[in-house]
Amino acid sequence: MTVALSIQNLEKEYDNGVRALKGISLEVEKGDFFALLGKNGAGKSTAIGIICSLVNKTAGSVKILDHDIDIDFPLARSMLGVVPQEINLSVFETPLQIVVNQAGYYGIDRKLAQTRAEKYLTQLGLWDKRNDTTRQLSGGMKRRLMIARSLMHEPKLLILDEPTAGVDIEIRRSMWDFISEINNSGTTIILTTHYLEEAENLCRNIAIIDQGLVVENTSTRELLAKSQREIYVLDLVDSIDSLPTFERGRWTLTSPSSLEVDISKQQGINGVFRELNAKQIKVQSMRNKTNRLEQLFLDMTTDDEKESA
């Protein structure tokens, strides 16, 4: 296995005493599309900050394609591209200036930088805006500009820290397609996101960080296989006044025309319909209440409210 990113016993204690990372270890295979999930404050942004040299670590080591970020930092950094969570564009510069300058910081000459700038700004739908200042760009455009900027030196490992936050669904899906293409061309991608649907659809492997520890690190398929329960929302053709008694599943009448049923995988959906037919309840439509990964994520991570209670 060729490893794109290796993190060993990574620890971070901030000056205020907060232990953001309590010794995490992770390996991301070359070519992988890897999701790093966790609630706000779980430690994932700290981990990314350390990988990108924006945060000083307390202990542990980080290697990017076998290059230690402390010992061989120029080579390690030249292989890494980052799209940060917060917008960090100079408001006075134009998209073209930003991406061409970024290439310069990696030692790429201006002629090649101009060619790549046209390529990536065009692919991300920003070429027409190349001479506007970033202040004039919409939130979605700024996010796409940060992606273009991160690709100017054609990194082998690309970290996307919530790249689609605040972006409308149409642009988000076009960004998914673009990012998938980048991954298909051989770039390893690490994605953090709050849209768990995004991680489920795009990523082959997933790690979940909770309270500074890795609580899960497996393939998306295996993780989803752990999901033992499903909650379905059933919209009824005719309204009902009270909840009938059912043999299997946990039922809730959420409104006169809507039922919710929580069943285990083993029980299956056919049994639900048999019971509904027996009670002569007709269903107009049905949908999952929650995304499967979302439910697992909530099961695996600490409930802050319960903990503080």
């Binding site: 990108c52 564009l89 970024q102 310069g104």
Partner: protein, 257 residues
């Protein structure tokens, strides 16, 4: 990074900095020219004739070198401190932090940008001074080297200020409360020989005195300080500031948590 890649990175930072201050020339180039012109008019043309001569030169001719260097000092310093702090504030400095550009190249890039602004302002002020004074050049090498080294030193100082600054007020504290008084008391408007012995001694603790006198020597061939001392002081302060800046950058002071 190879040398050629580091050169490209360095030129990119310099280009970015020069583009920045020329784009907002009304804020960066014009104000020091206007301020210095007012000094020329008030102290040179209006009050100067009443003062007579200073060290054998017309008062106007005596103050011109100091005023030029004062504009170089404030502009070099302000450029780097505000630009670097601005990049920190907008977090666009992260573009550089995550890149393989060595910290020494980042430092030299910003400092060169500050020097470019300081020297450009100095040149424009010199051109304006020609309207008020009959400038003569005693030693062109001294004039150029002192202005270059002074711009370098105060660009380094500005960088240090930018590293430490946590809010916009922090960028203006040092220029307002340290740099300006030191410049005014550094012999721009008078020869320290006019002062009592005690205050002459105190004045020797002011590093700007050495720069202004060195620069004045380049124009007029007179100085209260031995020229060698001027170079020594400037080079020593520059070397110390370079090392402090680099050490702080390597530690990530003010830019890494």
């Amino acid at each position: 990074m190879s040398w050629s890649q580091m050169w490209i990175a360095y030129i990119t930072i310099v280009y970015k900095e020069v583009t920045r201050f020329t784009r907002i020339w009304q804020q960066t180039l014009l104000p020091p020219v206007v301020t210095t012109s007012l000094y020329f008019v008030i102290f040179g043309s209006l009050i100067g004739p009443r003062i007579g001569t200073m060290e054998g030169y017309r008062y106007m001719d005596f103050i011109v070198p100091g005023l030029i260097l004062m504009s170089v000092i404030t502009s070099s310093y302000a450029n780097v401190s505000s630009s670097f702090f601005g990049a920190k504030f907008q977090r666009s400095i992260e573009e550089l932090q995550i890149s393989p550009t060595p910290n020494s190249v980042i430092l030299l890039g910003y400092v060169t940008g500050g020097m470019a602004r300081g020297l450009l302002v100095g040149l424009v002020v010199t051109l304006v001074a020609l309207f008020f004074s009959q400038l003569s050049i005693h030693n062109v090498f001294v004039m150029f080297s002192i202005s270059l080294l002074t711009a370098l030193l105060f660009s380094m100082g500005g960088f240090l200020n930018g590293l430490f600054a946590r809010k916009f007020d922090d960028v203006s504290i040092v220029p307002n409360f340290i740099l300006t008084p030191l410049t005014y008391l550094g012999g721009v408007f008078y020869s320290i020989r006019l002062l009592p012995d005690f205050w002459q001694g105190v004045s020797h603790l002011n590093p700007i005195l050495y720069m202004i006198n060195g620069f004045r020597y380049g124009f007029l061939g007179i100085s209260d300080i031995h020229l060698g001392f001027s170079y020594l002081i400037i080079l020593a302060f520059t070397a110390v500031l370079f090392m402090i800046n680099l050490k702080l950058l390597n530690k990530g002071y003010g830019i890494r948590s």
